[in-house]
């Protein structure tokens, strides 16, 4: 797990390339504190940099960027390839020899052997750049579930890439801000892929590679993997057997590490499943990390105790207080690579993980999206039906006082983006226009023009909700936040529910058995009912929630209306102080007006 960066700039001197890449890497040092490397191809002016967080093969043999034996292929890699030992064995059988015990060397040799077909064989969380000197090209490759980020920027003279958007500021190449970022952020609570806060910096789509031809500077992005959409499992018993089989495999595979490993354990269903299963394979060599609060409503310690008593894993509970929130708030904002309304919770638990000497932790992220754990799964049918009403009638929803009902306005959009924003959006276009003092049509056009994958057109009901949650909420917000917030402490978060084979399996299960009408995540519960006590699976969902509503309200440096000059913002913050606005909407105002 590392941070990577690179610049391809024929007009740069080698020294300049090295200098800028070093600066880019240094700006991400938190994510790779253990080692640093930069290589320059002086002829082609290709520079690759790497800041390493050593997890597999802790020796200097894992130094990156890494070359193949004849130094014709170079790689800078961020992430873990969980099945690298299997691939390594296959490659050895085919005559390859290995110098290190790293997964990075396996990527190089897999590419040498299978070419571009190697990418889909990799099971893990990864983003890498591979420079092939013989073919005179390089590849940027991102994992199938989009867990690891990879951003790129192209212009006539340069091509730049990095693991974090803020690294581009150090590339020596002037970047213009994206004028639309505040619109995106106020509508979504994050910046949707492929966009970023910088005008010409984009996110590489998950399961894709970008191939850049060094002879003419052209590049093409193409998918190398897509999750199956064909329904193959219609029997519940079979589904349960397969779920247990694949999740066990995924967890076993993801426990691979040469340093200590832990699990982020909230006490909810998903993290309890991960904790119990990981504990079986870790044989006592596992630490579970939890956040606890003075705030009674938010404490899940009683649920955690039930599981902790059943497992061998050592349990560490950290109290996170309002004082911690106030004292760390500025640092958290600095660590936020891209504006988001989430991730502060991840920042704190990963800080705890770090304090316990952990470099890798497993998380239950992804189960809600796959198995229907969110309210959107209940609301989607109503939303679909409302969408059939006259657009003019729907537009009148913006006059409603209730902020949730207000969002129905988004159903007047032609694009399915409207449905998502109706389910999960922050502010409606008229409010955004007032906050940014721009024309409302500009806001509407900007939001309607966000590109969406075509596959959404063929999905309905819970599958449609699941698509939105997986491809928009999780992709654009949860995974992005989790990555930069965890890496700000040099902690890697692994997500067994997003294992490529597991996701493929779950998407092939018929929705009628996957989603429960009366019980959320019914199938997952059925699968693990015997392993977990009833108090864990038969409880109301709490989510990974911190007492932000109370903390932000109490902290007048964020919530005092006097801080806001814009009339609408002032009114909204007052409304937040009167408990009529969710903290995430208030936080977005602070971010836009005071921390951007």
């Amino acid at each position: 797990m590392c941070r990577i960066a690179g610049i391809i700039a024929p007009n740069f001197s080698s020294t300049q390339l090295k200098h800028q890449i070093t600066l880019m890497c240094d700006s991400m040092i938190h994510g790779g504190p253990d080692d640093f490397g930069v290589i320059i191809d002086e002829q082609k002016k290709v520079g690759l940099g790497n800041r390493r967080l050593s997890i597999l093969d802790l020796s200097s043999a894992g130094h990156q960027p890494m070359f193949n034996d004849d130094e014709q292929i170079a790689i800078t890699h961020n992430g873990e390839i969980y099945n690298f030992k299997i691939l390594r064995d296959q490659l050895i059988q085919n005559g390859f020899q290995f110098k290190t015990d790293t997964d990075t060397e396996v990527i190089i040799k897999a590419y040498q052997f299978w070419g571009e077909n190697a990418f889909e064989k990799l099971n893990g969380i990864f983003a890498f750049c591979l420079h092939d000197k013989i073919k005179n090209c390089f590849y940027l490759v991102r994992d199938q579930s989009g867990v690891k980020p990879l951003y790129y920027s192209n212009s006539i003279d340069h091509f730049t890439f990095a693991s974090e958007v803020k690294a581009f500021e150090y590339s020596g190449i002037t970047q213009q801000p994206n004028e639309n970022w505040k619109i995106y952020y106020l509508a979504f609570g994050h910046i949707p892929e492929p966009f970023t806060t910088l005008k010409n910096v984009y996110s590489l789509p998950k399961g894709s590679f970008l191939k850049y031809q060094l002879n003419d500077g052209s590049f093409k992005i193409q998918p190398y993997f897509q999750f199956s959409s064909a329904i193959q499992i219609i029997d519940e018993d079979e589904a349960i057997i397969r779920i247990k089989e694949e999740l066990n495999k995924a967890i076993k595979l993801q426990l691979i590490s040469d340093s200590t490993i832990g699990v982020l354990f909230s006490g909810g269903l998903d993290s309890s499943i991960i904790t119990v299963l990981a504990d079986t394979y870790a044989k006592g060599n596992l630490t579970s990390i939890s956040a606890n609060f003075d705030e009674i409503d938010f404490s899940e310690s009683s649920y955690r105790r039930i599981i902790s008593e059943r497992v061998e894993a050592s349990h560490r509970e950290h109290m996170i207080t309002y004082r911690d929130f106030v004292y760390n708030f500025d640092t958290i904002l600095k660590n936020m690579d891209q504006p988001t309304n989430d991730g502060i919770n991840t920042w704190f638990v990963c800080k705890c993980a770090k304090e316990n000497g952990l470099k890798s932790v497993l998380s239950g992220l992804g189960a809600d999206e796959l198995f229907g754990g969110y309210p959107s799964f209940d609301r989607i049918r109503k939303i679909q039906n409302l969408g059939k009403l006259s657009k003019e009638l729907i537009k009148s929803a913006r006059f409603l006082k209730n902020t949730k009902l207000n969002r129905l306005y988004y159903l007047s959009f032609q694009s399915p983006v409207g449905e998502y924003l109706c389910l999960r959006g922050l502010y409606t276009p008229d409010i955004i226009a007032k906050l940014l003092e721009i024309d409302v049509q500009t806001v509407i056009n900007c939001l309607q023009n966000i590109p969406l994958n075509d596959s959404i057109r063929y999905l309905n009901d819970e599958e449609r909700a699941s698509w939105f949650e997986m491809n928009m909420y999780m992709q654009n917000q949860l995974l992005k936040d989790t990555d930069f917030m965890s890496m700000s402490h040099g902690v890697e978060v692994r997500v067994p529910f997003l294992d490529v084979n597991f996701v493929n399996l779950v998407t092939s299960i018929h929705p009628s058995i996957k989603f429960g009408v009366y019980q959320k995540k019914r199938l997952l519960i059925e699968a693990y009912k015997k392993e977990l006590p009833e108090q864990i699976w038969n409880r109301s969902k709490m989510g990974f929630t911190f007492p932000f509503q109370e903390w932000i309200k109490k902290n007048k440096d964020i919530s005092s209306p006097d801080l806001y000059q814009n009339k609408k913002a002032k009114k909204l913050i007052t409304s937040f102080n009167n408990n009529n606005l969710h903290w995430s909407s208030a936080f977005a105002l602070y971010k836009v007006f005071h921390a951007s």
Binding site: D297, R323, F325, N578
Partner: protein
């Protein structure tokens, strides 16, 4: 069945005064005792809004804020009160509600918490009658207890003394060095001697004694040219203007800072920043701020003519001075500035304060009170 306890309050969360602090500690004690099934708590607050509950202190279903709907508060309190075993009134202004509950349900025990000035003045006859009907009056200090006896003629056996406690979520420092960010914020250097007071800075509460401290500051400056006095606390415009004029009059603008409201998260750090907490007040019922300052290892100078005497354990924990005697205050401050507490002494002070006024000790007193 555990006893049903109804705690009636004016404000608990919507304000940050001493009485509200006491109410919050009682809420948490009731919650803790409720969790172990010792009692079944309910808290009603007349002026708080329903959403103002700080969820550190009690559960949502244990609390109701009536948002200034006084009649509704009274009706609900009566209905709930007559079905309760114990009523705790947080303020004398709730006496009539407690009295009515006692009339309708004589077996219900009704206790009143007596804080300070609100009960030190003469009461009209009906109120006095109601006061006498109560099962117990819980005075926060010996001083308040004496006042109740002498002014209202309440018998000693009806009065119980229960000193206030340090907030259950108070942050206890282990390291007593001056916090860098605060030195930077106020433009101070680590060697500067810093005096501090923390109270509401409002025209109606001039008894807090900061005027006296200001008046002796010019003398202190002669000996300690870098000394700075931080007056902390939310202020009203009128008092702020008055203080600013006073500062100009004494020509001490470089030695005094009105730092305003301090966020709860930064209270401990402000105590750490300071060398002496000085508030020779005249009308403290108890003075929680003193025990919290001492819990941060800060030496305290308080008045000897009110409830502060209990907070400083008769001078065992800090210096008690005559609040009207500027010379004595000046002399005491000089002594303290000359021989500041070292690390060990600060730890010892923190330990003594905790032993005397910990939340845990307070919770056990509440337990005994309910179980009597």
């Amino acid at each position: 069945m555990p006893p049903k306890v109804l705690f009636l309050t004016l404000k608990v969360f919507g304000f940050t005064g001493g009485i509200e602090k006491v109410c919050r500690s009682i809420c948490r004690a009731l919650y803790d005792l409720g969790e172990e099934n010792t009692l079944e708590p309910t808290v009603y607050s007349m002026y708080d809004k329903y959403f103002e509950r700080d969820s550190r202190y009690l559960k949502k279903q244990q609390y109701q804020g009536f948002n200034e709907h006084r009649k509704y508060f009274v009706i609900k309190s009566l209905l709930k009160g007559i079905r309760s075993d114990v009523i705790i009134l947080s303020h004398i202004n709730l006496l009539s509600v407690g009295y009515l509950i006692k009339r309708f349900s004589p077996k219900t025990k009704v206790y009143l918490i007596a804080h300070g000035i609100e009960i030190w003045r003469k009461l009209p006859e009906p109120k006095l009658k109601a006061l006498n009907r109560l099962d117990k009056i819980i005075a926060v200090s010996h001083f308040t207890a004496e006042k109740i006896k002498s002014i209202h003629g309440i018998k000693a056996e009806k009065i119980e003394i229960l000193n206030n406690c340090i907030d259950p979520f108070y942050f206890f420092p282990e390291n007593f060095s001056k916090p860098e960010p605060l030195l930077k914020r106020y433009g101070l250097n680590p060697n500067q001697k810093i005096l501090m007071s923390l109270s509401r800075v409002v025209s109606s509460e001039k008894y807090k004694g900061y005027d006296n401290t200001i008046s002796i500051l010019p003398q202190l400056i002669k000996k300690y040219p870098e000394v700075v006095y931080l007056i902390a606390g939310k202020s009203d415009e009128e008092e702020k203007l008055r203080l600013e004029k006073l500062i100009i009059k004494h020509q001490i603008a470089d030695h005094i800072k009105l730092i305003g409201f301090i966020d709860e998260a930064e209270i401990t750090d402000h105590f750490l920043l300071s060398d002496i907490f000085v508030m020779p007040s005249k009308k403290e019922g108890f003075g929680i701020v003193f025990i919290e300052a001492m819990a941060s290892g800060l030496c305290v100078v308080a008045g000897n003519k009110d409830g502060s005497v209990d907070a400083l354990k008769n001078g065992e924990l800090g210096k008690l001075v005559n609040p009207d005697d500027s010379n004595e205050i000046e002399k005491t401050l000089n002594e303290l500035l000359k021989s500041p507490l070292d690390h060990e002494e600060k730890i010892a002070l923190q330990k003594s304060v905790l032993k005397a006024f910990s939340y845990e000790k307070y919770r056990e007193s509440i337990r005994k009170l309910i179980q009597q």
